[in-house]
């Protein structure tokens, strides 16, 4: 599904849990999605030849409390298995939560995965909030 089509359908969709989506394709060709269950941390979606990638940037390394970086990294390594469908990573100096789906994934499944990722972002941030400045 092209990102424009995905945006169009997301804007018109409400899932079983009542979550709605605001989706928009940016000038850079990235699909930005705000899920109603977490409108503070938008999900950025892009595609490769085989996958749909969904990225929630969490925070910058500069936002980590002084001297807490190692503790934070270990916390993320330990948390990662608890959110098996969303991986935690470091992209440049931005901590991200991200997921990957096959290009052939059904729309309803994509919407559900985005909702879960939006929720996982809150859970993960709550777990490490005390390590941030």
């Amino acid at each position: 599904m092209a990102l424009e089509d995905l945006a169009f359908r997301l804007n018109d969709y409400e899932d079983a849990e009542g979550t709605t989506f605001d989706a928009l394709v940016t000038e850079d060709g990235i699909l930005e999605v705000v899920c109603s269950n977490n409108d503070e941390f938008p999900i950025h979606i892009t595609e490769t030849q085989t996958q749909i990638l969904s990225v929630t940037p969490l925070f910058n390394t500069s936002e980590v409390a002084a001297g807490k970086a190692d503790e934070l990294n270990e916390a993320f390594l330990r948390l990662s298995p608890a959110v098996p469908l969303s991986a935690i990573g470091l992209q440049g100096d931005t901590y991200i939560l991200f997921g990957a789906m096959a290009l052939s994934t059904r729309f309803e499944v994509i919407a559900h995965e985005l909702e879960v990722q939006a929720e996982n972002a809150i859970d993960v941030l709550e777990a490490v909030e005390h390590l941030l400045a």
Partner: protein, 231 residues
């Protein structure tokens, strides 16, 4: 080999900006070139296979004709011997020997061909593995490139909001406040629905013993029926 190791080195070295090479551009070109080479090799191997297959079919046909001819001459030689035609039988035997040597030649030709075909199949599989491995490697590179692109557009936003102190905590607070608000509204909605349906009033009436005593339903009905019967 080891595209992940290359990427890790580049990423650790600070190739974080979009457009910066996370692996040597040459490495990508080499991977792509290897895929094209392998695909071309497979295409020409498949052409050779087709040619060999037609040779193999021809050989098989010739062998089965030879086998039939040999069988035929053997029967004729036996008949000649039985008829006491020793000279004729010797002549036929000579012909059989010729055919047999011909058959041997063709058989070994077929065996050699089988070996060649087997080698080509092996080669195709090996090239196929190269293609798949390289495609997976390229996909890894592209995935990281796309992740960088997707992350970059928001990282700029972090910078724009000045990465103010407790940005994440404040955002979390807002999200949670909204969720609580939403839950409150859900509960309010349920309460309102209940009220509109008259639950509240009925409950009040029941509490005062008005509108049917609790658990007395069956007794009431029975009393009513008895009264009807009596009247």
């Amino acid at each position: 080999m080891g595209v992940l190791r290359d990427m890790f080195t580049a990423l650790k070295g600070g190739a974080n900006e979009v457009g910066e090479a996370i692996v040597d551009a040459n490495a990508i070109r080499i991977l792509e070139q290897e895929i094209r080479d392998a695909e071309n090799a497979i295409a020409s191997a498949k052409q050779s296979l087709t040619r060999m297959k037609s040779t193999e079919i021809k050989l098989k046909r010739e062998l089965s004709t030879l086998n039939a001819d040999i069988g035929d001459y053997e029967r004729k030689a036996v008949a000649a011997l039985e008829g006491g035609e020793e000279g004729l039988a010797t002549e036929v035997a000579g012909r059989i020997a010729e055919l047999e040597s011909d058959r041997e030649e063709k058989s070994s030709e077929q065996a050699a061909l089988d070996v060649e075909i087997g080698k080509i199949h092996q080669m195709i599989k090996a090239r196929e593995r190269t293609i798949q491995k390289n495609k997976r490697d390229l996909d890894k590179v592209r995935t990281v490139q796309e992740l960088q692109r997707a992350t970059a557009s928001v990282s700029k936003n972090f910078a724009a909001t000045g990465s103010s102190a407790h940005r994440v905590s404040k955002a979390l607070e807002r999200v949670k406040a909204k969720q609580t608000d939403w839950q409150d509204r859900m509960q309010a909605g349920e309460w309102l629905e209940g009220k509109e349906a008259g639950d509240d009033l009925d409950a009040k009436l029941r509490a005062k013993g008005i509108g049917g005593s609790a658990g007395g339903g069956a007794n009431d009905v029975l009393a009513r029926l008895k009264a009807r019967q009596g009247g």
